[in-house]
Symmetry: C2
Subunit: 223 residues, 2 copies
DNA sequence: GAGTGAAGGTGTCATGCATACACTTATCCA
DNA sequence: TGGATAAGTGTATGCATGACACCTTCACTC
């Protein structure tokens, strides 16, 4: 057991995960419908208590797995803020270390876990009412995501291995929640030298698009 | 008491403060010499346990006050990362919410508090050996400080109400740990429109310098 | 096989911002 | 009055950004 000064706070330590993906062109956030009090029947970010002997990021990955059956690679996870206000949880002093997660393409299907009734994706910019202070957490997560977009190659993490430039632009637009100029976007991204044409093209409706993949040297993930 | 799932971790909740000032042209970090085990006789960041019913930022301000007799305004404090690795504290699972603090001009004198033997300023880029994982915390704090410099008017918080442009440049150089071009610096800062000449000048050795103050509308502090 | 619909792809100009770079001016003091 | 010291000043260049409109390629259908 811990030997601490008598007036020191013993707190419950939790993690929450704001996990994002892009689906049908809109930024979506992963939410679970709580099955237990407090806030039963309310949507919330995946999360829960850190177990004894468990690192913070491990707890975040485990909760994501248990509550939504999503297996995330550690490099797509980043701690971004700790919420510890006194009244934030009716059960007592619970501090939550909030994490940002980026879900690469293909991780969309989710299932509910033991303690949750459902898990599903919601438009991140217009979420339903959320439990605890999770609306605040989600808002901050989106801001952080937008910041990261600027100086990381974050958008690539949302896409499969090969992708077209319009698809990449859609990712940026979904995260920033505004539209971008096609020509300027292409100019900027191609100038960064992080994309290499794969030579292939993708056909659909309209003119086929050139496929790209990330260049050799491009670091990926949130860290 | 907390009613939590049985396997949930009860942890000690602490705060640490990486507090910076500029003195003699170098960025300095505030350290305390620990009087108690663990790590007695070792320098460490000011910090300690959060008390029952105390908010995180209040705890940070209190520890700073108790250990170094420095009274800091809340807006000069910003939470920046939470350190919770399992082995970081030999007493058990202790999670520390680290804060960044900017000490405005004139706050330099410090005294030791009850649980500390000394408190003093050390060059932030070359600190002495530190207790716990505080070297890691300090390093991350400096990086955050440098990031903030870019898009906040953070440097003004290190200076008194009126100051000269060379003084402001010194603050930037101390934080970035490199020298800057005088003409470009002046151009950039004056173009931002955040400075207004006070009309006065300051004499010393060499040509007297124009004194400036922050413009009316300039938001200050870390938030 | 010609026409239409749908999406991909392309170039230029203006503006602002960062960078590199060297000499003059004001004051103090011996 | 001359020397030491620090403040102050301007220009040219390259680069990134933002605004803006038309052409190309393919699939499908008639």
């Amino acid at each position: 057991m811990l030997k601490l000064p008598p007036q020191a706070t013993q707190v419950g330590l939790a993690v929450d995960v704001a996990a994002f993906t892009i689906h049908e062109g809109v930024l979506r956030s992963l939410l679970t419908l709580r099955g237990r009090v407090p806030h039963a029947q309310t949507w919330a970010l995946p999360g829960g208590f850190v177990l004894v002997g468990e690192e913070l990021h491990e707890a975040a990955l485990r909760e994501l797995r248990d509550e939504t059956s999503i297996e995330l690679e550690p490099r797509h996870l980043e701690q971004f803020f700790t919420f510890g206000a006194i009244g934030r949880d009716p059960r007592g002093r619970i501090v939550s270390v909030a994490h940002l997660a980026v879900l690469p393409h293909g991780t969309v299907p989710v299932m509910a876990g033991a303690s949750t009734l459902h898990a599903d994706w919601f438009p991140a910019h217009q979420p339903p009412p959320l439990a605890f202070d999770h609306a605040l957490i989600l808002g901050r997560a989106i801001k952080r995501l937008q910041l990261r977009l600027e100086y990381a190659n974050l958008a690539l993490d949302f896409l499969p291995e090969t992708f077209t430039l319009p698809e990449l632009q859609n990712v940026h637009e979904a995260i920033l929640n505004r539209s971008l100029d096609k020509r300027n976007f292409r100019k900027r991204l191609l100038a960064q030298g992080i994309l290499t044409p794969s030579g292939e093209r993708r056909s659909g409706v309209g003119r086929p698009a050139q496929l790209y993949r990330r260049a050799r040297s491009v670091r990926t993930g949130l860290l």
